[in-house]
């Protein structure tokens, strides 16, 4: 038991550091580790991951809230879509064939690589508020590291809501934060600046994960003896990662880990096909 815990905590810390450095969260990294190294059932791996997702996202959001980077109102409004999506995804997890989960996971993993490598930060976007954004007063501003205040408007809110439902669905089905979909919804679709999108996404992940985690708990996918070391390790790792992030130029790192993530995705496909 001791060796099991120590090895698991160390690997979870590593997953947390990598997830934090790459900005994709530790959940998506720990699931393949649990499956391939510990031969844990995919649904139980997903259950352990979702708990760590709540811890890391809530921890990060608490910092971003103090820095006033999060758009609270937009986050709250979009949570309607992510929570309903998460409930749908978690319910589907109970009936879906595990083989399909391997394929879906591989696709989401590959999708996560793209923004990590090619996304450029856009501080200010010139768009007009749409009807919903105007009515709900969603537009806001944020102060960047350079001390300059950037104001932003929001549009395409209904399409953003649809994408958020998909994000919630992926989170509920795969036990991940699915920040990548949330950022696509806010940054690419609703034209919210990247910094606000990523921080607001973090803020929303906890509530989204809560919607699915209780369903996991009841269905018996959350093994506390597995979830606790995974959560503790990933949480510690994400704290270390955040500190390292300030000192590391991580472009090369991103390329290396993108390749690793791609290989893991291929392994997932092979496992799904019964070839591994």
């Amino acid at each position: 038991m001791l060796t099991f815990y120590i090895s698991l905590i160390i690997l979870a810390i590593v997953a947390g550091i990598i997830g934090s450095l790459l900005g994709i969260g530790g959940g998506i990294i720990i699931i393949p580790i649990l499956i391939f190294l510990y031969h844990i059932n995919i649904k139980e791996a997903i259950g352990a991951s979702i708990i760590s997702v709540i811890a890391t996202s809530s921890g990060a959001a608490s910092v971003y809230l103090k820095d006033k980077l999060i758009n609270l109102k937009t986050g709250m409004f979009l949570e309607i879509a992510t929570t309903t999506g998460a409930i749908s995804g978690a319910t589907l997890l109970g009936i879906i064939n595990p083989i399909a989960l391997f394929y879906i996971f591989a696709v989401v993993l590959i999708l996560s690589i793209y923004p990590m490598l090619f996304k450029k930060e856009d501080k200010e976007k010139k768009v007009k508020n749409d009807y919903l954004a105007e009515k709900l007063e969603l537009s806001s501003s944020y102060i960047d590291n350079d001390g300059v205040e950037y104001k932003y408007n929001i549009n395409n809110t209904p399409y953003g809501l649809i994408m958020m439902y998909i994000a919630g669905f992926a989170s509920g089905l795969l036990g991940i934060g699915s920040g990548v979909f949330k950022v696509i919804a806010m940054d690419n679709i609703m034209n919210i600046p990247m910094k606000v999108s990523t921080t607001t996404s973090n803020f929303m992940i906890g509530v989204t994960a809560l919607a699915s985690s209780v369903i996991y708990l009841i269905k018996g996918y959350i093994n506390p003896y597995l979830a606790l070391p995974v959560m503790a390790g990933i949480f510690l790792g994400s704290l270390i990662g955040t500190k390292l992030l300030r000192r590391t130029s991580n472009n090369r790192l991103k390329i290396i880990f993108s390749i690793i993530l791609f290989i893991i995705a291929i392994e997932m496909i092979l496992r799904g096909a019964g070839l591994l």
Binding site: I54, S58, S62, I80, V207, V214, I218, L228, M231
Partner: protein
Amino acid sequence: MKKIDYNKYISYILRIGVGLSFILAIIGIFLSLNSNKTGKIYKYTSIYNFIYINYMKHLSLTSFVFIPIIVLILTPLLRVIFSIFMFKQEKNIQFVFITSFVLIILLISIFII
């Protein structure tokens, strides 16, 4: 009148919840080191069944190791409840409704599904 910074309070809720859960998780890990339990996983029929089996029928190590997980799950829920209060104080009725709606969805996921 000075505007109250609610962001700060939400931040505290998240910090305290995650911090408490982390401490309890470490205690839980230490307690289960000698148990040689990788955990027999039960399927429950509902949240009431989960509470009954783990906290009313009998208390066990599993009852304890579930506590950090429950604390963690309740943290974002508390954040949503506090947000409703925050929007009410700001007299933003639209967002009192929107956030209450999110709370209802969460309560459905906990107590009904």
